[in-house]
């Protein structure tokens, strides 16, 4: 493909020079934050660290981390509503967004006009790497509301020169018809929504989504496109290439799966610094293959900076470089899970994404599932509810046996299985919450 990279210089910068760039940029954003954010300054003063103390990447580890709960605690105060983390005058804030609130009270995020340009620039790296070009007509079936979601994807597609079709107010069926009518070649959405959209086309409209002109899809907002079985379902449902992007309101658009689909996502290491911490010891993990928790710095974000933010995302560096030639490292499997979600059940460590991989990799099962973990006295149990496809009902017992075997193999756990008819389990509009840990909610029997 002609002009493979959005920025061939940065994206193939030799590692030594890239790391030097990261250090210099970290020094800059750290000084900026130390000078202007009362919240961060107090944190750094307590830790006894100043910008002059940062001379190497190793020194960065001394900078205290910021967690989402800390941001929640300082907001809804002046400068309202952002509080003491704001580094620019309030009248220089031009964009308001907030987090989705799936993990608690939403966090408000301020961006200046320059920050918003930066958001769109980071997304341009994403889309260009996935093959978006001026010849694409990009359909955006999302709500255009207070969540940052695909807003920057919209403007990045424009920046690249694509034609952008906003599908905001349309319902799902109208969106499907619009894709068909205007011959859209690309779209963006959450895996949950796009799987649901395909199901709507098939079951309610008598339309085969594979015959729609969509050639490529960018997924974001939740894990899914990084889980091989889910990606395969999406690609099969739409007859399109599906690419993952992991980003966050508080962080930015920090990663992309390039068109070579290396089984993971590149970190945009010219714009973000990723550190991986061991979940138990907190030690920094450099070697590939070992998973840990991501601590991330947005090296250019100014109004409300993101400096050593504890994302709680579980990731691991990939063993092999990507054939695309980028020196931006790959995180194998994308975001593997959330440190908050990875839990011990019956003494065994469980990542919910492993269950999704089994369910969606199994022929005869629908896309939806639910997991419920409970405790009765001292005994823990885990129930998996799945939907069995009508054509597989006769082979129900066989499917159940295979499912148990795969679950045991992949998660080392035994499950109470419930097989339901397709359409029975809850459907989610945009982001799903399929894993329910009733032990945490104090709902023991």
């Amino acid at each position: 493909m002609d002009r493979e990279y959005w920025n061939p210089i940065l994206e193939t910068l030799p590692r030594e020079r890239l790391e030097r760039l990261q250090l210099e940029k970290f020094k800059r954003v750290f000084r900026w934050t130390w000078e202007r954010s009362r919240f961060h300054r107090a944190l750094y003063d307590r830790a006894g660290i100043t910008p002059d103390d940062i001379r190497s990447l190793a020194d960065i580890r001394r900078v205290p981390k910021v967690e989402k709960s800390m941001l929640r605690g300082i907001q809804r105060k002046d400068p309202f509503p952002y509080g003491d983390a704001l580094c620019l005058p309030l009248d220089e804030v031009t964009e308001y967004h907030q987090t989705s609130g799936t993990t608690g009270q939403p966090v408000y995020q301020a961006d200046s006009w320059t920050d918003w340009e930066w958001w769109n620039e980071c997304w341009a790296y994403v889309l260009w790497s996935q093959g978006y070009r001026p010849s694409d007509r990009v359909f955006l079936p999302f709500g255009y509301n207070v969540f940052v979601a695909f807003w920057a994807g919209h403007y990045a597609a424009e920046k690249i020169g694509c034609e952008v079709v906003p599908g905001g107010v349309l319902d799902t069926q109208a969106r499907i018809l619009k894709i068909q009518e205007i011959r859209a070649t690309a779209m963006m959405g959450t895996p949950t929504y796009l799987l649901g959209m395909a199901e709507t086309a098939r079951s309610r409209m008598g339309l085969d989504p594979r015959e729609l002109p969509i050639e490529k899809i960018t997924c974001a907002g939740e894990p899914g496109a990084g889980i091989p079985a889910t990606k395969k379902r999406l690609e099969s449902a739409w007859n399109a290439r599906v690419y993952d992007h992991a980003g966050a309101t508080e962080i930015g658009a920090w990663s992309f799966e390039c068109r070579h689909q290396p089984g993971g996502i590149h970190v945009n290491e010219a714009f973000f610094l990723v550190e991986i911490e061991d979940l138990d010891t907190g030690e920094i993990i450099e070697e590939p293959g070992r998973s840990g928790k991501m601590v991330i710095t947005a090296l250019d974000r100014r109004a409300q900076p993101c400096v050593r933010f504890d994302s709680k995302d579980v990731v691991a560096w990939a063993e092999e470089p990507c054939p695309c030639g980028r020196t931006f490292r790959v995180l194998s499997g994308g975001v593997i899970g959330r440190a908050d979600d990875i839990t011990k059940v019956k003494g065994v460590l469980l990542a919910p994404s492993a269950i999704e991989e089994v369910v969606r990799g199994m022929e005869g099962l629908g896309d939806e599932y639910e997991v419920v973990v409970e405790r009765t006295g001292d005994r823990e149990s885990i129930t998996l509810k799945v939907e069995i496809q009508p054509e597989a009902r006769e082979r129900r017992k066989e499917v159940e046996v295979r499912l148990r075997d795969q679950l045991r193999l992949k998660t080392n756990l035994g499950y109470i299985l419930e097989m339901h008819d397709v359409g029975t389990l809850p459907r989610y509009d945009v982001k799903a919450k399929r894993f329910k840990d009733l032990r945490k909610e104090g709902q023991s029997k």
Partner: protein
């Protein structure tokens, strides 16, 4: 990708010139919102040019307000 440092420095210098001109325009047009605010928007794009090219020069320059 191999690139010519001289060419890159040339890009860098042109971008810095753009910034200087845009900043002067913003200041000169401060009584005309159409000029001031559009110049401010242009500076946002110039900032991205700096992130993509100018930051490669060591040490990275402090951010412009």
């Amino acid at each position: 990708m191999d690139y010519d440092e001289t060419e890159l420095k040339d890009l860098h210098d042109r971008i810095r010139t753009l910034r200087r001109v845009a900043e002067e325009l913003r200041e000169a047009g401060e009584r005309i919102p159409a000029v001031e605010r559009n110049a401010q928007r242009i500076l946002g794009s110039i900032d991205m040019l700096e992130r993509n090219v100018c930051d490669l020069f060591d040490p990275v320059a402090p951010w412009n307000p």
